[in-house]
Amino acid sequence: MSNTIRIKAPGQARRGEVMELKAMIRHPMETGYRRDLYGKQIPEDILDRFECRYNGEVVFSAEFFRATAADPFLTFYTVATESGTLEFRWLGQDESVYRESVQLEVK
């Protein structure tokens, strides 16, 4: 399945308002410690970093590790300063990048 991303962000906000942002991505966060039905080791496959950029500037970031549950879900806050783009990026340990953007209008 393609990596489904779910974002919850306000389309509009007042200048100075504290906005709640939510981001979830479909990802198995495979630890590398498990074995399949046939005893073969399942290779490690985790996302190790998340960033939220507001007009290019990182306003929130997080590191993920093997113990992070599958389908990681984050809720965080930032202050609305100007209209523009909120970009959400997940970086995989294998250099893969998953991203989603939403537009924000600040009045």
């Binding site: 399945m1 393609s2 489904t4 939510k22 979830m24 479909r26 966060m29 389908d71 879900f73």
Partner: protein, 259 residues
């Protein structure tokens, strides 16, 4: 482990010998309770929050697949129209004359793909089939399970019911010994539910992913150390029919969250 085995033995003895197949009663309709009520408050809240509930990753993907392609599902089953699928999931499994057998929602989706969309059937438990099933099931959220037991379905119903009451595996336990006789009690760290299928397909925390009812039933079979059947097999679809009838009247919850 030792203590747990002891508990199992006590349960075994309590309902062994004294009851024949004929006097094992079905769960009475007024006792029916959703598995949701046996979860912790936090897990219930996770299910109820339509953003935090990770099952919606599959529902959304299913919604995309539903509208994809030249002959899309949405081409026939528009959201509002003659063939809307609201409530459809409440009536499965059901006998399909064309297929000549009992089919569940997954089977119906695959029948549609082959007959009307010129697409190959999706593998049972594949991510795409889970996603489509989750989407269609979510259209019946809150609606009461209402599976028809017509003349054609009756034989499958009896087969499913017999499976439910049949002791199996090294632990020699039947479904009813947990889910009729001992629901609400503790089994190690868990509260035993009544075993209703109304939240499936569901996101199971233990799996860290989304799965079908048949995958869940396989875990129960493996739990009593019996040989599990294949997902999508006739015996599991028959059992699903019995479970659906047993849960009649319960609101559909898919995408549910279960332990």
């Amino acid at each position: 482990m030792r203590l747990w085995l002891l508990v199992v033995l006590v349960v075994n003895q309590a309902s062994a010998e004294t009851r024949s197949f004929a006097d094992r009663p079905d769960l009475s309709a007024d006792a029916v309770q959703s598995g949701r009520l046996f979860l912790t408050e936090e897990t219930r809240a996770l299910q109820a929050d339509d953003f935090a509930n990770p099952g919606y990753l599959w529902v959304e993907r299913g919604g995309e697949l539903f509208s994809e392609g030249e002959k899309s599902c949405a081409g026939c089953h528009a959201a509002a129209g003659d063939r809307s699928l609201a409530g459809a999931a409440t009536r499965y499994p059901q006998y399909d004359a064309g297929a000549g057998t009992l089919i569940n929602l997954e089977g119906r989706i695959n029948r549609c793909r082959q007959r009307y969309q010129d697409q190959p059937a999706l593998t049972y438990e594949s991510q795409d089939l889970l996603a489509l099933t989750a989407y269609v099931a979510s259209l019946s959220q809150g609606l009461a399970m209402d599976v028809p037991i017509d003349a054609e379905a009756a034989a499958y119903f009896q087969q499913g019911r017999a499976y439910y009451f049949q002791r199996r595996g090294q632990l020699n336990l039947a479904c009813n010994q947990c889910h009729d006789d001992n629901w609400g009690k503790r089994l190690r760290g868990d509260t035993i539910s009544q075993g209703h299928p109304n939240a499936w397909p569901a996101y199971r925390l233990e799996w860290q992913t989304f799965g079908s009812l048949h995958r869940r039933i396989r875990d129960c079979d493996a739990g009593v150390r019996a040989e599990p059947h294949e997902p999508g097999s006739e015996i599991y679809i028959s059992l699903e029919l019995y479970l659906a009838w047993r849960a009649r009247g319960l609101g559909m919850e898919s995408p549910g969250i279960r332990r």
